[in-house]
Symmetry: C2
Subunit: 214 residues, 2 copies
DNA sequence: CCGGATCCCATCCGATACTG
DNA sequence: CAGTATCGGATGGGATCCGG
């Protein structure tokens, strides 16, 4: 990890989060503690030596803690690391403005889908429900209660609502469920009332960031 | 600029801001539009070819605009790029938690000092005043009015208040002016009432981020 | 299997020199 | 002033290997 030679908060932060894979690893840890191989498999393309190296840098900076969970090693954000949540979420929203169309070979992952749910959370009060979301090969779910929202990767067989489709992002952006479903871009299984609750609880209005993209 | 292969807002953002020097360049542009050599001189150590390359990537992503100012080229954030402000400011605050002591060969720059003022802005209503701040080789200033705060690099001869010293960061963190001045860590020239206004207008309470650092 | 370490090649970065 | 060109060294990518 090389210094920028400036006595500056942003420069210090950039030394940590401004290296390749750093932000993606932090995104995944934001969803919850993960084992080494969970991280590795959840981040296609990351070389294991770089994952090792980044985790060590995070440990040295007290951003991540390496703890034993039973006989397994898990990595989890420290309290200090949790302070990155609004930043990573904000960056995710900002970057979503550029996601107009998937690029060649670009896929969603379980963790990126879970992170998208975290990012889209509105903090509006809604009726409690659970939802499972699928996008291509990726699955994640959320459990919304009156007081909190918990998000995790993978399927959730007992979910009240089940959403799928290639254009979930557009659904989160527009909030126009009927249009999304009738155009076939999104499929939904569950009570119509919960669909409405979903778009109230999760939404990423893109004009919240700026407008002058290519 | 290499893709992370994930259809994910954060991954897209990370491709832009997660490369070396990117965040530091954006920090400086956040203070105001800059010419190529202003950026270069304001960022000690950046190779000119990398500055060129980053600016081009930003242009391609519509984050930065290359415009003519008279006969000069200036780079300025687009409206979309301005959307990064809360993120860069947040990162600066988060990283400030690690700035306990300057490292070997680590200096403040005019731009990092100006950015620190931006970062420390509290939005509290205060009496109007202007302040010039000096830390080692770096100088910046701010003009605080009832409705807005403008920050820029360099000296401001007519400033109502003049602050200097090696531990300005501690002043911003603690807000304890009297202690800072009587210990000699900070020197101040100007009315005592403005000193009070300064610490109300600018402050970076570090326990706003987390507590468990080394 | 899990949690890495090692090796080798490609790419990127850093420093300096040079140019319209 | 605003960048290109170049080249050695550092870092990343991908595969393989290893100890528990």
């Amino acid at each position: 990890m090389k210094s920028y030679g400036q006595y500056c908060g942003l420069a210090r932060a950039a030394e940590l989060v401004g290296e390749r894979w750093s932000l993606v690893i932090l995104r995944d840890l934001l969803v919850g503690p993960k084992r080494f191989n969970e991280l590795r498999q959840g981040i296609p393309g990351i070389p294991s030596n770089l994952l090792t190296s980044r985790l060590r840098d995070f440990e040295d900076a007290s951003v991540v803690e390496r703890v034993l969970d039973g006989r397994n090693v898990v990595y989890r954000l420290s309290e200090y690391g949790q302070g990155l949540e609004p930043i990573v979420v904000g960056l995710g929203r900002w970057g979503a403005r550029q996601m107009d169309v998937p690029r060649e070979n670009e896929v969603p992952t379980d963790n990126s889908l879970a992170a998208a749910l975290l990012t889209a959370r509105t903090d509006e009060k809604v009726q409690a429900f659970s939802v499972e979301v699928t996008a291509g090969p990726a699955t994640a779910h959320a459990d919304v209660s009156a007081t909190a929202v918990s998000v995790a990767t993978g399927p959730f067989p007992d979910a009240d609502l089940r959403l799928g489709g290639s254009s979930l992002r557009r659904l989160l952006a527009d909030g126009d469920i009927d249009a999304a479903i009738s155009s076939g871009a999104v499929t939904a299984k569950g009570p119509a009332t919960l669909l409405k609750e979903f778009t109230r609880a999760f939404s990423t209005p893109l004009d919240e960031v700026a407008h002058n993209l290519p």
